[in-house]
């Protein structure tokens, strides 16, 4: 699932730019879905939604449309999101390391006295 110069999905762009755009697109989708799902009357989500949409669609800003059909753009975009998912999951053992560290702390340390109870007694 890795990509190289040979299978670059953005014409006339380099891999550094593609990697950055995949990250931005991935987080844009995540944030956009989160804002839509958690919509409530106490939120003012319009500015963040617009920005997350912009991030989500950011790869389209650098696509060279000259040789691409609508269907092809759709496929490119979906592959971008799939690459984002694979790269995110590939990096997720970092979170497992953090979880393991916290698990060690929870297993070894004892609970300290509740500071709130202490305060109430005083």
């Amino acid at each position: 699932m890795a990509y190289t110069d040979d299978n670059s999905i953005l014409p006339q762009s380099d891999l550094i730019l593609q990697s950055i755009l995949i990250g931005m697109c991935f987080i844009g989708l995540w944030f956009f879905i989160h804002l839509l799902v958690t919509w409530n009357k106490y939120h003012r989500p319009i500015p963040p939604i617009l920005v997350s949409l912009f991030l989500f669609l950011s790869p389209l800003l650098v696509v060279d449309y000259s040789d691409l059909t609508q269907d092809s753009i759709n496929i490119h975009f979906t592959i971008y999101l799939n690459l984002g998912l694979v790269m995110f999951l590939s990096l997720s053992p970092i979170f497992l390391a953090l979880l393991t560290f916290q698990a060690i702390r929870l297993s070894i340390n004892r609970k300290s006295d509740d500071p709130l109870i202490e305060m109430l007694n005083d």
Partner: protein, 193 residues
């Protein structure tokens, strides 16, 4: 619909389920989050075969080989993430922090976490990444893209909050009100009558 579309629909449902689960008070989470999460996971794990993608997909990405590699990676990742989450929940349950210590739960939890690490270590995709340093280069810039996005989004959220009209400042509690609040907290924490 190609399998790459199916994966993104499943992932979107998982994200929606996680966000729904964070809505509302801690004791009353959304009842829709679990079914949506299961639906999203099912859609991702049961992705259809590559099929005939002639003319509708890029040759380099929609091959049987890529599909199998992707499916293998997604299934392995789902296994270790599930085991790790179950392990950490058991550790929270078995540790002294929130209830009485339960050594059996702790031992079982650590077995799950070790097995989770073992699964990660044996995923072929990581061996492939480590053999080709230029992949790591891509990952660095992917992480940079995530950081840039988060920086922008946090800035926008802060800007929105700063520009939200504020409620008028209320007066500080007097001594009687402070005593009432202290008593309520005391009774709730200790379970006094």
């Amino acid at each position: 619909m190609l399998w790459i579309h199916q994966t993104i629909i499943g992932w979107a449902l998982i994200l929606a389920a996680i966000s729904l689960n964070r809505m509302g008070p801690a004791f009353k989470r959304s009842k829709f989050s679990s079914p949506i999460l299961l639906l999203g996971l099912s859609i991702i794990l049961l992705i259809q075969g590559p099929g005939d993608n002639t003319g509708s997909c890029l040759e380099e990405f929609c091959t049987l080989e890529t599909y199998l590699e992707f499916q293998n990676f997604i299934i392995s990742s789902s296994i270790w993430i599930s085991l790790a989450l179950l392990g950490i929940m058991l550790i929270i349950y078995g540790s002294e922090w929130y209830s009485k210590s339960n050594p059996i739960a702790l031992i079982f939890a650590w077995l799950l976490i070790f097995y989770s690490w073992w699964t990660v270590i044996n995923i072929d995709f990581y061996h492939e990444i480590l053999e080709q340093p230029n992949y790591l280069f891509n990952y660095f810039f992917f992480a940079l893209g995530i950081l840039i996005s988060l920086f922008i989004l946090i800035g926008v959220v802060r800007w929105t909050e700063i520009n939200t009209p504020r409620d008028p400042i209320i007066d500080e509690m007097d001594e009687r009100e402070k005593r009432i609040v202290t008593e309520i907290i005391r009774r709730n924490i200790r379970g006094d009558d």
